[in-house]
Amino acid sequence: MFNHWDVVLDFVKACVRMTVIWVFSTILAIVLDSWGIRAENLLLVYLVGVLISILATGSLAWAFCAAFVFTFTFNYLFTEPKLTFHMDDLNYVISSVIFVAVAATVATLVLKLQKQMQIANKKTEITAKLNEIGSGFLNLSGYQQIKEYSEASLAGLIGKHVTVLLKEDEGTEFSNSMAEWCYRQSIPCGHGECQFPDDNGLYVPIRNREKTYGVIIFDCAGWTLNQEEKIYVDTVISQITLVIEREQLSREKENNRVQVERERLKSTLLRSISHDLRTPLTGISASAGFLLDNLGIMDDATIKSMLQDICTDSEWLSSMVENLLNMTRIQEGRLDINKKKEVLDDIVSSAVRLVSKRIGNHTLRTHTPEDIILFPVDGRLFIQVLVNLLDNAFRHSGSGITVTLNVVREGDGLVFTVSDNGVGLSQDKINKIFDNFFTTAYEKGDKQRGVGLGLTICKAIVEAQGGTITAYNGSHGGAVFEIRMPLEDKKHE
């Protein structure tokens, strides 16, 4: 409908312009004629009129139309016999013929020039667009950005809807089977191509010589890409390819970095574990072997003390294995958090019961709120956290100390503090105390054992459940570990 009205409107406009030019030319000619100017000059006035009308309408048909109308007007008004279409003088006939020929030639030239100018303009415009698209590609990172930018720029270039599909993972398939076919075969298909020519979409692969990265889908319903547009599209595709290659390289680099980091971590872990496992194991096997060999000749007190050592060492080993199991679960990135609403009392009492065997000559005090508080937590893992913290306090703070486990409710969260009146933490320790494998043993040599796994695990567990853990020295000396846990389950964003 729009098209139709546009044509009619253009026609009316051209008519009006022509009429205006004709009226002015004729008035000028009549004025000149009344001044006694010769008729040949009047014909030149009309020639100018024709040229103006060519410029005004930009169409050859109108130019010819104007030439004829003007010739006949001239004939009618200014040649003898006036006010008739007869022409007595042969000169006028020749002049009129030349007039028409000149008008036609000039019109053709002007139109050609106009067309070339239009082409040149369009080319400049597209070059500018391509340039802009190209520079825009430089600032992209991530497949999503590349996809969105490519879609927007291609759509801007050809004025049609364009979908860009990028293959991030070789294992997955595009939901669009045509796109998948195009990706697999790495040749264009769909609208106007050899394969599936009846489809409304045109599928063009994004590829370089070795690899296909994705597919561009052009919506070709009632429209097709012309030769020129294909060239532009190819230019953009090659730019997309470059950007994707760059993206993949940077990803590979990042992966390699992570891999190296992980390997480093693993070897550190293995080193510290084998060291920490060997120490108690040596003790156990040596004591047991000695007992076996010398059973008859030893006094009961010695036997008992050796058995005591075996018990302590194996208990320690088993708690360490528990930590290690949790650690591997965390490091593989699939810490199976199984959050349930647990009663605070249950958690605290279970942790206290687990450490009660290891209290030794220390004292443990607990303070919990009067109210019954339910909070979302993975019970087993959180108990492990409290056990690790209490254990640490017993082990690293000296002898005969008092450890306090205090739980208070603060706003919409719970605050757990494990504090002791022991030696406290040195400032440089506080900063790295939650780092992997940090342990005081390494600073003092071999005397104290313990992979610094305990606190790392605590941090990982607490943070995985939406809490925070911090360490500082209390106002009366002694170390304080503080855990803040939310009372409400915040859903993952």
Binding site: V343, D346, S349, I383
Partner: protein, 229 residues
């Protein structure tokens, strides 16, 4: 003498040996089975008083052994589970196992569980005492009253019902599922939240220190146990 016989179904030689020695020192007689099938046949042949059953067996699933035994009798079964078998453990308890120990466990722990298991077997018919007393806790079943430090404690009817259940099964672990079924009569889908809150309330009434309870112990992820000594 009527000697107590315990059937040990366990494939790990070291643990089997450890159980054997622990049982021998306490004067129990024992039968050893290396796998599930021989365990079942030894059960039929010897009618043991109690069974120690490892859940991870080389031939058939420990759960299958439990089902076979339960078809035949109410002999107490104590399940031996490894870490990471939490689900199986709870499942076994709900399927009729009487108790569990988790590896690694001490001889002390194992023998305590066995004592509880045997006592429940003996008292299975005779248990209808009028009173239960432990430390500073006392319960009068006839008058339906509970005393702590000789002070009468007020319990709601549901709380009392729960206490009776726990006390009658003292020493034994009761799963959330079982308590829910016994006290309320139906199962819930809310992770037994109301049950946990009920238990916390009871604890506040009878325990001196809820952070280090004397009577009701929480078995994380499993249920509760009323201590028996």
């Amino acid at each position: 003498m009527n000697e107590t016989t315990i059937l040990v179904i366990e494939d790990d030689k070291t643990i089997q040996n450890f159980m054997k020695i622990s049982l021998k020192t306490r004067g129990y007689s024992y039968i050893l089975a290396d796998n599930g099938l021989s365990g079942i046949s030894l059960f039929y042949a010897n009618h043991p008083d109690l069974i120690l059953l490892d859940l991870g067996l080389p031939d058939i699933d420990g759960m299958e052994v439990l089902k076979q035994i339960r078809k035949q009798s109410n002999t107490p079964v104590i399940v031996v589970s490894a870490r990471g078998q939490e689900r199986e453990k709870i499942n076994a308890l709900d399927q009729g196992a009487d108790d569990y120990v988790t590896k690694p466990f001490s001889a002390e722990e194992l023998l305590a569980r066995i004592r509880v298991g045997l006592r429940h077997k003996d008292s299975f018919v005779s248990r209808q005492e009028q009173e239960f007393e432990l430390d500073y806790f006392r319960m009068d079943f006839e008058k339906r009253k509970v005393y702590v430090h000789d002070q009468e404690i007020h319990l709601t009817p549901l709380e009392y019902k729960m206490m009776v259940l726990l006390v009658n099964n003292s020493g034994k672990v009761l799963t959330h599922h079982y308590i829910q079924q016994e006290v309320w009569g139906y199962d819930t889908t809310d992770d037994y939240q109301s049950l946990r809150v009920f238990m916390a309330n009871i604890r506040r009434k009878i325990e001196d220190n809820t952070a280090n309870p004397r009577f009701i112990l929480t078995e994380v992820g499993v249920g509760y146990r009323f201590v028996d000594e």
